[in-house]
Amino acid sequence: MKLFEYQAKEVFKNIGISIPEGVVITSISELKRAAGKTGFPLVLKSQILMGGRGKAGLIRFVKDQVEADKNCLELFESDYNVNTILVEEAVGIKNEIYLSITVDPVTASHMIIACSDGGVEIETLAVEAPEKIIREFVDPNLGLMPFQIKDIAFRLGLEGEVLKKISSVIGKLYQAFLKNDAELIEINPLFITGNDDVIAGDGKLSIDDNAEFRQKTYEITREYFDSDAEYESALEGIPYLQFDGDISLMCAGAGLTTTVYDLINYEGGTVANYLEFGGPNYKKALRAMELCLKNDSKVILIVTFGTIARADVMAEGIVDAINRLKPDRPIITCIRGTNEEAASKILTKAGLVPLYDTEEAVRKAVSVAAGDEL
């Protein structure tokens, strides 16, 4: 689960990493009080999960109340689904550092990444100045050792008070990484102020969903998602991505769904939604079809090739869903795997024409979406 900036900063603050004075607001009526706390100039930071907020104009520096009101309104009314704004003091910056921690699957290490060119996205840095990127690998059984922290700090070219403070931030960020079962924790930029104070200018924290059982759980709200459908399916636990094409995918298994997505694109078709009802969800055909029907898609394409996700159970679920939901668009099935013969009978009996070859099913869906008959 990806946290919003303000949530990540709360984690930073709790572990002793300085953050700018800031107030979270969800309506313009709260702005004045917030500004009273931060003073002017201040920064209005839209709390959405999309990257590149600066470029998209979703972060605004304002000098006074008039500017603040105007910009705040613009942000709340933008197309980006901005429901929350972090109102922050504008920090006087001397320097910016990039700092993050993630895992390295190859060496089975925690990996700290640092760069003296903060404020730039790491993807950009990786392309433009790979030699400036510092990587430090940490044995998860030993944890981050002080000598490694010092080495990172020296490689960043730091010294004196700033070296000490950033060393402390690195240590604390690592603690936060562990404590939160983080996939990624990032401070970019980490500000160094004129007074050599070290303050987290931004914050990213992505918590491993698999570790939810031992982590603080954040309530899943609409704000985390780009669309209502994605929000709704997340509540259901069904992986779902919204697109705006013609074909609703209702497939079992992430890899197979991705491949069907590819094949549709190869055939010149367009995808309305990616929906994966495999694994623990294979009995949720009804709910899956409901989600697909919310789209303006022209056809629903069902592809599975399951083992535990039994073909006959899925076929029954699909037939049941059709009976209940009476879908207004054609349905193409390509159901294989354990008990595929039984599945075939169930589908045929229900009046469907089951297919058994993925590509054939894809071609059919693309042609139907283009207006051909089923």
């Binding site: 089975a108 998860p140 059982f213 991705t258 590819d262 994966e276 354990t338 590509e359």
Partner: protein
């Protein structure tokens, strides 16, 4: 010779008394696997499919010889179960658990590396040497998918494995050994680490890898080939060629990050060392014929 497992490999089942454990132990035996005992704490003395259940791996190993362990253990207990198997010196471990915490997975792989063990998974269907033995849950009874033969298969993607393997068989080939590396961001063992076994296997003529966007496992295979550590033909099918950047489409491991791990990168890496990449599952057969000179 088979990779990882054959009909003589003595297999322990951890979590044998659970619903999944029971069900798949029966199928593993049905497939030819030599299951010698099971483990479930607190259930010592029970019998599952005629195999004795022990409280712990140590207690099982004090009674029977074991070469490999199959884990049907929930994700949150998987780390403990893997370490328990490693503690007893078991060097081949398969875990099908889907949902192992990332930080546990890192420690599992670290431990496996440090003792030179092969931990396969999690989030995998396991391993199968068709016609001989299986650890995990493969629908080996679907003959048009799991026909014995001379093509090695490695996969990151459970749901695509049946699809691609069916195409290999449809083209007239069969499978020597199939290793499901698993779809997690940090699998216990990586493609490249299994390649030397296929290289040495006189029953394997070529290897097909089933990969997808994200990570660097396919690139590592290309490196092995470039460095001459793997010399047999290499064919790949890769999902997610047209996947939108930055979206997580399915597996947590399948996300392009830091500009790395696009399918385009992977194709270039594989083709640059003489490997072949099939655009569609259907093309796998033709490519195999081409690289094998058939």
């Amino acid at each position: 010779m088979s990779i990882f497992i054959d009909e003589k490999t003595r297999v322990l089942v951890q979590g044998i008394t659970g619903k999944e454990g029971k069900y798949w132990t029966e199928h593993m035996i049905g497939c030819g696997t030599t299951v010698v005992a099971g483990v479930t704490p607190g259930k010592e003395g029970q019998q599952i499919e005629g195999r004795t259940v022990y409280h712990s791996v140590r207690r099982a190993l004090s009674k029977v010889e074991v070469e490999a362990s199959m884990l049907f253990v929930p994700p949150m207990f998987t780390k403990d179960a893997v370490f328990e198997a490693l503690d007893s010196g078991i060097k081949k471990i398969v875990t099908v658990a889907d949902g192992i915490p990332l930080h546990d997975a890192i420690q599992i792989r670290r431990a496996a590396l440090s003792v030179g063990a092969l931990v396969i998974g999690g989030n995998t269907s396991g391993v199968i040497s068709p016609g001989k033995a299986m650890m995990g849950f493969f629908p080996y009874w679907i003959e048009r998918v799991y026909k014995p033969g001379r093509i090695g298969v490695m996969t990151r993607i459970g749901s695509l494995t049946n699809e691609v393997t069916a195409m290999i068989v449809k083209a007239g080939f069969g499978v020597s050994s199939l290793i499901g590396i698993g779809g997690d961001p940090v699998p216990g063992t990586r493609f490249a680490e299994m390649l030397p076994f296929y290289e040495a296997d006189d029953k394997t003529d070529a290897v097909v890898i089933i990969g997808e966007l994200g990570g660097s496992m396919e690139e590592e295979c290309a490196e092995m080939k470039r460095d001459g550590l793997y010399t047999k033909p290499l064919v790949a099918f890769l999902g997610g060629r047209t996947a939108p950047v930055g979206k997580r489409m399915g597996h947590a491991g399948a996300i392009v990050s830091g500009g790395k791990g696009t399918v385009k990168d992977k194709i270039e890496a594989i083709e640059s060392v003489g490997g072949k990449v099939a655009e569609r599952p259907r093309f796998i057969g033709d490519l195999l014929k081409e690289v094998l000179g058939l």
